[in-house]
């Protein structure tokens, strides 16, 4: 498995990471190494195994449906760079 430069740029864009052109080759080589490692999972002998959703052989604990959190807006908004009328303000996003 080998990642092209275009694919690398696409993945970087999806992760919102700015990749400087001079990093491209080194990154590509690292990622290809990781992909090679992961491609061991293509071993046909693994086809007979049930895929795991989680490495721990445990079951999800469920929580009763009750409200346990109180309003902590003031504390939780302390770190927000901008806020108004109880809203977090972010740079304008129009879809």
């Amino acid at each position: 498995m080998s990642l092209t430069n275009d694919q690398l740029q696409t993945v970087a864009h999806l992760a919102r990471i700015a990749v400087e052109p001079e990093w491209t080759e080194a990154l590509r080589s690292d990622i290809n190494g990781i992909l090679d490692q992961a491609s061991r999972l293509d071993d046909p002998r693994l086809n007979e195994l049930e895929p795991m959703a989680h490495p721990l052989d445990q079951v999800q604990r469920l929580r009763p449906d009750s409200v346990t959190e109180t309003d902590q807006r003031e504390t939780l908004m302390e770190g927000a760079p901008a806020q108004e009328q109880g809203l977090f303000l972010v740079p304008k996003v129009i879809e």
Binding site: R63, S66, D71, L76, F88, V90, P91, K92
Partner: protein, 489 residues
């Protein structure tokens, strides 16, 4: 009524994705409240905000409600289901991913039966459900002017949803609307969703494509979003069918895309194309373990299932002798069925009479006031009082309607209104006989002509007596007495 018809030579294929907010008290992965209408961000805790180091803990109520839906549509409830992360960047999704179920949804399969048309034209269709999975809702972005910035309210973030995905089994807009309405009814009967489309508790996206009649291969589809009423769903699908057929018939092609419905202009608009669509890079959520349900738990939930719309409609037909159409209308929403059942709860009540009133006067009133049956100004108990006065002969149907209007406008009790307005029907034979005798005495010419064979004059006499009684005489009694007196027995 719309004048829409599917262009000839074309077949339409529709599938729906429905998001229903589950009516839990707390969020799917946190203990914050889900109540609607709180101050912005007052119900967003550290987990909902995606602060570092927090861990989700799954709400048992959400799992139960999703399972109830699955049981209601005869689906398989997965003994093991799991959560995945759907990654995308948007400010109202603070974690940078939505926790959802891709590989192993909690509900698999099942189907919903819908009816389109009425009377002899009524047709049943079975719409298959592919899956229904649990996921979390995102927050809300407010694009009003905050000095050129966007305001983010995360109260809705983490509200549990089930996304119900249908197979592309619908062939016209009516079927799609009937299916959406049936799912809407089912979640309300189950009490797992309040069904409020304006507030976004029940959201419908439609996948629409067209293909030449007889073709096997599916055409390119578009997905319509932003439809917040059943009427708009119908309009949006109709518009999209016409748009696609026009394109194909003029040598163009349909581009796979997401389109937004604009109710003001009654059209769909391009939102994004497939090329621009995000690559969500799903992967299993490492923070959540697989959800395992045993048979005992599932059976205990099955025992909770209420009588559902189809079963209720069948019972209304067999128990009350209602037509399939009437039974379908009365069971179309939980609130309507509850109203109807409250009206007929009284001993000796006449279910057919009640059905006619609920579907006639009550429906017309709600239409006029543009309100839901839950807010009907004439509560079921008062309608039951009114029907009792019709059944015992105190009121004719016509006078009943007058009392109904009075109840709707000013409230009060049925008997008070009858008393105050002097609406009591005259059923007393003696009084009617006196009026009949007066009318006969005052119209000797007509009496002679009638007795000479002019039968049609009977209506004239009925009219005269009714006039004398100011419309309050029991029509049946008037007919009987008139016949007796005129025919000379």
């Amino acid at each position: 009524m719309s004048q829409f018809a599917i262009p000839s030579g074309w077949e339409v294929v529709i599938g729906l994705e429905i998001h229903a907010q589950l009516a839990t008290r707390s969020k799917i992965f946190s203990g914050a409240s889900t109540a609607f209408g709180a101050e912005p961000n007052a119900q967003a805790c550290a987990v909902d905000l995606g602060l570092p180091g927090v861990l989700p803990v799954l709400n048992e109520g959400a799992v139960r409600m999703a399972s109830l839906f699955g049981l209601a549509i005869d689906a398989e409830i997965s003994r093991v289901s799991s959560f995945d992360r759907k990654n995308y960047f948007y400010p109202d999704l603070p974690k940078g991913y939505q926790t959802t179920q891709l590989a192993r949804p909690i509900v698999v399969g099942g189907s919903v039966t819908v009816t389109t048309g009425e009377g002899k034209k009524a047709k049943e269709h079975t719409i298959r459900v592919t899956r229904a999975h649990l996921e979390e809702d995102a927050g809300k972005s407010l694009h009003e002017d905050f000095h050129g910035m966007t305001g983010i309210d995360l109260n809705r973030a983490g509200t549990p949803l089930i996304e119900i995905v249908s197979e592309p089994d619908m062939r016209n807009p009516e079927q799609a609307v009937a299916y959406a309405r049936k799912v809407h009814a089912i979640v309300q009967y189950l009490g797992i969703c309040d069904g409020n489309m304006q507030e976004g508790s029940f959201r419908v996206d439609a996948n629409v494509s067209v293909r030449p009649e007889g073709d096997e291969a599916l055409g390119t589809r578009t997905e319509i979003k932003n439809v917040n009423s059943f009427r708009f769903l119908q309009r949006a699908i109709e518009f999209e069918i016409e748009r696609q057929v026009d394109l194909l018939e003029t040598g163009g092609e349909v581009v796979q895309a997401t389109r937004l419905y604009d109710p003001d202009r009654d059209e769909t608009r391009l939102m994004r194309t497939k090329e621009e669509a995000d690559d969500y890079r799903y992967f299993p959520c490492p923070d959540l373990l697989p959800v395992v349900l045993d048979d005992e738990t599932i059976e205990s939930w099955r025992a909770e299932l209420p009588e559902l719309p189809d079963a209720k409609a069948d019972r209304y037909q067999s128990e009350f002798g209602l037509s399939a159409y009437d039974a379908g209308v009365l069971t179309s929403s939980r609130a309507t069925a509850e109203y109807f059942e409250a009206v007929i709860a009284r001993e000796g009540s006449d279910a057919k009479l009640a059905a006619n009133w609920v579907m006639g006067e009550v429906a017309a009133l709600l239409n006029r006031l543009e309100c839901e049956i839950g807010e009907c100004p004439v509560p079921a108990e008062k309608l039951a009082d009114l029907l009792e006065r019709i059944a015992d002969g105190t009121l004719s149907n016509k006078l009943g309607r007058e009392v109904f209007e009075a109840l709707a406008e000013q409230g009060g009790s049925v008997d008070e209104i009858i008393e105050a307005r002097g609406l009591k029907q005259i059923s007393d034979t003696g009084a009617i006989e006196a009026m009949v005798d007066e009318v006969i005495a005052a119209n000797p010419g007509q009496v002679e002509a009638y007795r000479g064979g002019k039968d049609k004059l009977f209506g004239f006499f009925v009219g005269q007596v009714m006039k004398a009684a100011k419309g309050k005489a029991n029509p049946q009694a008037v007919n009987e007495v008139l016949k007796r007196r005129l025919d000379g027995n």
